[in-house]
Symmetry: C2
Subunit: 205 residues, 2 copies
DNA sequence: CCATAAAAATAGTGATCCCTATTAAATCAT
DNA sequence: ATGATTTAATAGGGATCACTATTTTTATGG
């Protein structure tokens, strides 16, 4: 990650990561269809051609903003999930971390991915497929952790880990929706505590 | 509900309820921001002035289409919930009915209300408040049923019925999101069966 | 200083957005 | 038939949509 050597030509006024951060925040708050390229260029302080030369298109920018945001969160969250904590405890901390992310002060409510682009115009079907794939990947990550829990004897051998992962995925999506509707952090965590009572295994192995 | 007596003037080409049904289906599939007035007028087979004289504005039409759709479902669903079945059994049938609604053949996926207008442009904030209020009302209906269950001794007296209602509300929202992403009916019902294991009371009193 | 390179700014493009002023058509009452 | 009444159709308005051809600015290399 060494600083780029100064190249020829006019220097950039906008750092790429700063631009992605601004874009991610707008898309997060207003959604893909609710955010215009004029909103984006205005918030970044650039003119339209600069946006297109830096990021390609509105859809390309959305994809890059999602990748950028996910990269920032994924390290901490995968550490929680892949730690040597019992699966139940790891899951609890993982869900609490998501609840925190859904209710950050001075940030948009909810999750940028969990409830994004569920309904959409036909022309945005490819954007919807992208967010759906990200949600499916998150569920598969949960399932893999649950499979490990079965191997470790923390869950009954007959556990349907796929459905269990989709159940907690539904909790994550429901929390995002309720955060968008104004739910506070403690309210989401009380909800998590109920969801954790559906855990099929012995607790704290 | 007697048929209206033929009045003076040119007869309507489009029945109001037929128009609302067409509008509801479009809004359901594409969302509020993803559906244009041109989409609506084309699907209804009318010209723009007819849409505005019949329904007022795009936002008014959305509100009327939501009311129209909810009215059709609410009778059956409130019968399920307010029946004399034990609360647990009523809840199970209620959630199964919602799962069926999320995965109807030849209908858009998911629920028209549960995951609608979560992210939105600033100019559509009033539309978002409307759908949020409908979601909150559904949660309060669940809470009221749970409160009755406490009175009937089907739930422990110290049960936090508000959080329990928001938990099952999250399940409903998560199911809608996953249905939008392609989940089938049986997958949603397996998810419900796990959610029901979080029920705090004695089953089948 | 000059040529080259790279990015920014200007000034738009055609398409689509939600909505409406006006005119034409179709019915009923007399 | 005529006038009154109600709805439909025509034709577009002003704003915004995502995007871009062209020109101008600012840097480096020689």
């Amino acid at each position: 990650m060494e600083k780029q050597v100064r190249k020829r030509g006019r220097p950039r006024l906008l750092d790429r990561d700063v631009g992605l951060d601004i874009a991610a925040r707008l898309f997060w708050e207003r959604g893909y269809e609710g955010t215009s390229t004029a909103d984006l260029t205005k918030a970044m302080g650039i003119n339209p051609p600069t946006l297109y030369s830096m990021f390609g298109s509105k859809e390309d920018l959305y994809r890059q903003a999602l990748d950028f945001s996910i990269a920032r969160e994924s390290t901490r969250r995968s550490q929680i999930l892949q730690s040597h904590l019992p699966a139940y405890d790891a899951l609890r901390l993982y869900l609490y971390d998501i609840a925190d992310g859904d209710t950050q002060p001075d940030k948009p409510r909810g999750c940028m991915v969990s409830t994004a682009v569920l309904q959409h115009a036909e022309e945005n079907a490819s954007v919807a497929r992208m967010t759906a794939a990200l949600r499916e990947a998150a569920i598969q990550t949960l399932k893999a952790r649950f499979d490990r829990a079965v191997e470790d004897g923390e869950l009954p051998t007959q556990t349907d880990t796929d459905t269990l992962a989709r159940f907690y995925g539904a909790i994550i999506q429901g929390m995002s929706a309720q955060a968008c509707d104004g739910a506070c952090n403690t309210r989401l965590k009380r909800l998590i505590d109920i969801a954790l009572t559906a855990w099929p295994g012995e607790l704290r192995t």
